[in-house]
Symmetry: C2
Subunit: 186 residues, 2 copies
């Protein structure tokens, strides 16, 4: 049904990727990476470039993406960047949107517009170690999507649910991931 | 013990924040926000500015921070930005680093340098819905920290553990958060 380019997604390439992975599941394995360096106070800088995927170290990415975290004044920073918990919302927003758009493309559904808003509740007493009953991270995140597409309301709801069902960052943020931290000094 | 400015952190302000929250725990409640708009294919744009905290809507932040997500070629994008799962690593890096630096400052420990590396394993078969036994998100994340500070190795280990114990994004990524998504069309 779907073919060519839909929503800016090359659907032929999408299906040939799926077929290649069916024959060789190892092609589906990716390793994403980031390096970070502290600058001062709440400011630190991440560089993102290299990744492994489709059976090899990537050689196509030319740019290094660089992002600074910082904190606003009230959180003792200089406001030279969004803060880490705000970047979580950015990652979640991007992943839900891309999941929605790609899976719509796979179904041959043309999307006109997608907008979304994110809000998360955080109680500083967790970070500050003031109350062990208060968690450090977000207690809740609320998301609102608006989708314009050539499809009935029922189909848009289905796409919104499919985005949640398939999004890697939605999975990470809702279910958690084992993180192993080591100190490698010297 | 600690006072003035340590590691770029105003420690007097830090302790007066803690005292203010002791008297009025409601001041610890923050709401962070993001808006996102789809551009094309795997590219979408997040704007971050407003937040609520310390009992009021913030009025100090002047800049709107804008970040694009995109995907590399092998994931059918144009590589106009880091991708959402890479931004998760950026958020995690920033939050562990800031947690480490702030809590060191609170203890009066001067940090000289912090560097960290992050790598996460992701199997595309989850996102593609090809195998229900494969999760969509990261299966594991590995983190390596290097810390230079005027403190013995044992103290650096303790700081590295304290960062994990207190970091909001570490909590989000390891433990998960309830996320409620609604479609608000029309």
């Amino acid at each position: 049904m779907a073919n060519g380019n839909i929503n800016g997604v090359n659907v032929d390439q999408l299906f040939s990727t799926i077929n290649a992975i069916k024959e060789n599941p190892g092609l589906a394995k990716f390793k994403f990476r980031a390096k970070n360096q502290w600058i001062n106070g709440g400011q630190n800088r991440t560089s993102i470039k290299e990744f492994y995927g489709a059976g090899r170290e990537d050689t196509t990415r030319i740019k290094t993406f660089v992002f600074d975290n910082d904190e606003p004044e009230v959180l003792l920073g200089q406001d030279n960047g969004a803060n880490p918990v705000e970047f979580v919302l950015h990652a979640l927003a991007g992943c839900l949107t891309t999941s929605l758009v790609y899976h719509a493309a796979a179904q041959g559904i043309k999307i006109d517009a997608v907008e979304s808003r994110f809000e998360g509740d955080l109680d500083l007493r967790g970070f500050l170690g003031m109350n062990e009953d208060v968690r450090n991270g977000y207690q809740n995140i609320r998301v609102t999507f608006k989708i314009k597409a050539d499809a009935p309301e029922e189909k848009l709801k289905e796409l919104c649910e499919l985005a949640q069902k398939r999004s890697p960052v939605f999975d990470v943020v809702t279910n958690g991931v084992p993180v192993k931290v080591q100190l490698a000094n010297g």
